[in-house]
Symmetry: C2
Subunit: 132 residues, 2 copies
C-alpha cells in the first residue's frame, strides 16, 4: 500500500506554508534545534533520510549540514495531535547543531531575570564554515 | 542585579507576537508538546514556575493543565541562537501532556508513506475533562 504524497496533505501548514520542526538527538535525547519546514523540506527529509528545512532568512530549501557537514540523519518523523508541528529523532553528525559552534541552539538559560550563555563553543564557526 | 522585563525584549516575537515553545520532560527527556507563547505567557511561566501558553484556537492565555490538572512544572527556560524559539525543561504532572489522553502530542509516526498512531491513550479524555 502506497499513498503517494497524501501524508503531506495531512500536515496543517501555516499561512506561509511552514510548520516548526523540532530535532531531538536519538542517542543523547537532547533537543539541538527548532527549524522550519515547508512541504518540499519535509518531502526531501522523508526521501533522503537527512533533515531538510526551509531557511526563512535565506528564503530557500536547506539541507542541514550542507555547509558545515553537521548533517542530521533522521531515524523517525513524528507529527503532533494538531497536525502542525513535526518532531524528528536524529543522529547529529559531528555533535554540533548550532551555527555558533555549540552542540545545540538552546544555549541561553533564563537565570535571575537575564539570559545567560551556559553552553561552550565546541568549535570556532570560522573553522566550520571558513573565513568567507 | 535585576533587569525588570528586559529579558522579554530579547525574544524575537513573530508578527503575531508569538514564539514556539518546546516542552521537554526533565526526567524521561521525552518531548511531549510544542505550544505557543506570547509575552504574557512567557512572563507568567517565569513568575509562577508553571508553563503558560497562548492558545491560538481559543485566543487566550492558558495555564497548561488548568482543566486537566496536567500541569508542567518548569525547571529551566532556554532561548535559542536566533532568539525566536523557547525550550522548557518540565516535570509533566500526571504523565499526560496531550488533550487526547496520550503521554505526548507527537504520537503519529511516518511509516511507509502514512502517519500511524504509535502511542496508546493512557486515559480517556472524557475522564480527564468531563463529559461537558
Amino acid at each position: 500500500m502506497t499513498s503517494g504524497t497524501d501524508w503531506l496533505d495531512d500536515v496543517r501548514w501555516n499561512a506561509d506554508g511552514l510548520v516548526p520542526a523540532i530535532a531531538q538527538d536519538a542517542t543523547s535525547r537532547a533537543v539541538p534545534t527548532l527549524a522550519w519546514m515547508n512541504r518540499d523540506a519535509l518531502k526531501a527529509t522523508a526521501d533522503t533520510g537527512e533533515a531538510h528545512y526551509w531557511s526563512r532568512s535565506r528564503g530557500k530549501l536547506w539541507r542541514k549540514g550542507e555547509s558545515s557537514g553537521h548533517v542530521q540523519r533522521v531515524r523517525e518523523v513524528r507529527l503532533d495531535c494538531d497536525h502542525d508541528a513535526i518532531l524528528l529523532l536524529v543522529e547529529q553528525v559531528g555533535g554540533i547543531a548550532c551555527h555558533t559552534g555549540r552542540e545545540r541552539c538552546f544555549f541561553r538559560r533564563l537565570d535571575g531575570g537575564a539570559w545567560r550563555d551556559v553552553e561552550p563553543v565546541v568549535k570556532d564557526p570560522k573553522a566550520i564554515y571558513g573565513e568567507g
